[in-house]
């Protein structure tokens, strides 16, 4: 059967197909590139704040959220938050604290470009302690091979970070607005420090 389509339109068909093809490629590429080109993603915001707050490394408490002065959008105003921005090129990181089992404490481990590679709350603490080592694949391998002695296995949780740069966001829940101070003091009890790999 012959369709009665004017030649004019048939001539345009390859060009229309080409347009849609290019549009598809542009769409896919722009979505995939967005995380690496977005200038104000969470890591950039937090890194800028940590830099202005002075300490070279370690845990930095974020100011209490108020309208117009939120560090990150879509955060719960009932939370007190602290962040530890890291760069594994300088060495692996240890996050350590003890928990009382009563109040909510959430830790999330963010790689660059918007991916959370691990998250936990105080409920999954081991014997009332949270002890987490973050490293890249090579650093974790070095730690594992250093274990192979007579010493008892360490109690720490080891995480392999997918990217060198990233941040640990720690959220402490204040049940009432008046509990903010207590929630912040729990954050202050957390250490987040770079350490040197064992030699050997």
């Amino acid at each position: 059967m012959r369709l009665n389509i004017p030649d004019r339109y048939l001539d345009l068909a390859p060009w229309v197909i080409a347009t849609l093809f290019i549009a598809g490629i542009v769409h896919v590429v722009s979505v995939l590139l967005m995380p690496s080109v977005a200038p104000r993603d969470a890591l950039a915001r937090l890194a800028a704040y940590v830099k202005s707050a002075a300490p070279a490394e370690g845990l930095v408490l974020l100011p209490q959220m108020t309208p117009g002065a939120e560090m990150l959008p879509f955060e719960d105003p009932a939370l007190a938050e602290a962040v530890c921005v890291y760069d594994l090129a300088k060495g692996p990181l240890r996050v350590k604290t003890s928990v009382d089992g009563e109040d909510y404490l959430g830790l999330s481990f963010h790689a660059s470009a918007g991916r959370i590679y691990h998250s936990m709350t105080d409920r999954s603490a081991i014997k009332g302690k949270i002890d987490i080592v973050v490293g890249d694949a090579r650093q974790i391998d070095a730690l594992v091979s250093a274990d192979e002695g007579d010493a008892p296995p360490p109690q720490e949780v080891r995480l392999t970070a997918p990217t060198k740069r990233g941040f640990v966001l720690i959220r402490s829940f204040a049940k009432r607005p008046s509990d903010q101070e207590r929630a912040r003091s729990r954050l202050n009890a957390i250490t987040c420090q770079r350490f040197d790999l064992p030699q050997g």
Partner: protein, 211 residues
């Protein structure tokens, strides 16, 4: 398919003698049109939400996969663009409501009441935010309620009124904002994220009236 001959394009502009370049012009406009359409589709799809795999319960929507390593590329793009740090999947779940329980968009000129029930969780919070995730300035300096500090009736139920003007009991104000959203967050919840939860186990957002 063979590329069309130049004769059918330039037609009227033959006096300019563009005929030899017609295919170049077409190729150029194909590139520009493709670029514009592609970017437009990207903007529209990123504004539509956090990609795939959403959970819906009445007006409440959540994207649990934004909080895990299997986050899809659309969600990653949205998260990177807005600059937010989603709640980890093992930490809890965040739901957002942009409409009331009847599906009408939330409007700060109207008054709403948020009523029980709530699925079980260690803690929950209900808070107002602007559509782009900022806190809303209001005279009471109260931005949300938690499962601990919400005032309950004798039978344990609660109601939260959303209105510009002060209300007795639990009251949240959108302040001078025109639009707002309601955020419902669960911390340490056993809610199943593989299927849509029962809407009847989630709070209702009832419109009381408009100014």
């Amino acid at each position: 398919m063979a590329p069309p001959t130049a004769s059918c394009v330039s037609g009227g502009s033959a006096s300019l003698d563009l005929k030899p370049y017609a295919n170049y012009l077409r190729a150029g406009s194909v590139m520009i049109a493709g670029l514009i359409i592609g970017l437009l589709v990207t903007v529209l799809s990123l504004n539509a939400g956090y990609g795939f795999n959403s959970l819906r319960a009445g007006p409440w929507i959540s994207w649990p996969h934004t909080g895990a390593a299997d986050i899809d590329p659309y969600a990653r793009a949205v998260v990177a663009r807005s600059g937010e740090a989603p709640l980890g999947r093992d930490q809890g779940l965040a739901f957002i409501a942009r409409t009331d329980s009847n599906g009408a968009p939330l409007n700060a000129d109207c008054e709403y009441r948020i009523v029980d029930p709530l699925p079980s969780a260690r803690y929950w919070t209900i808070a107002l935010a602007s559509p782009d995730g900022r806190l809303l300035a209001n005279s009471a300096e109260r931005y949300g309620y938690s499962s601990v500090d919400v005032l309950r009736k004798e039978d344990g139920d609660f109601e939260i009124d959303v209105a510009r003007e002060a209300r007795p009991g639990n009251w949240l104000s959108p302040g001078e904002a025109r639009d707002f959203v309601v955020m419902l967050r669960f911390y340490d919840t056993s809610l199943d994220i593989d299927s849509n939860p029962d809407p009847n186990s989630f709070p209702k957002i009832v419109k009381l009236g408009c100014a």
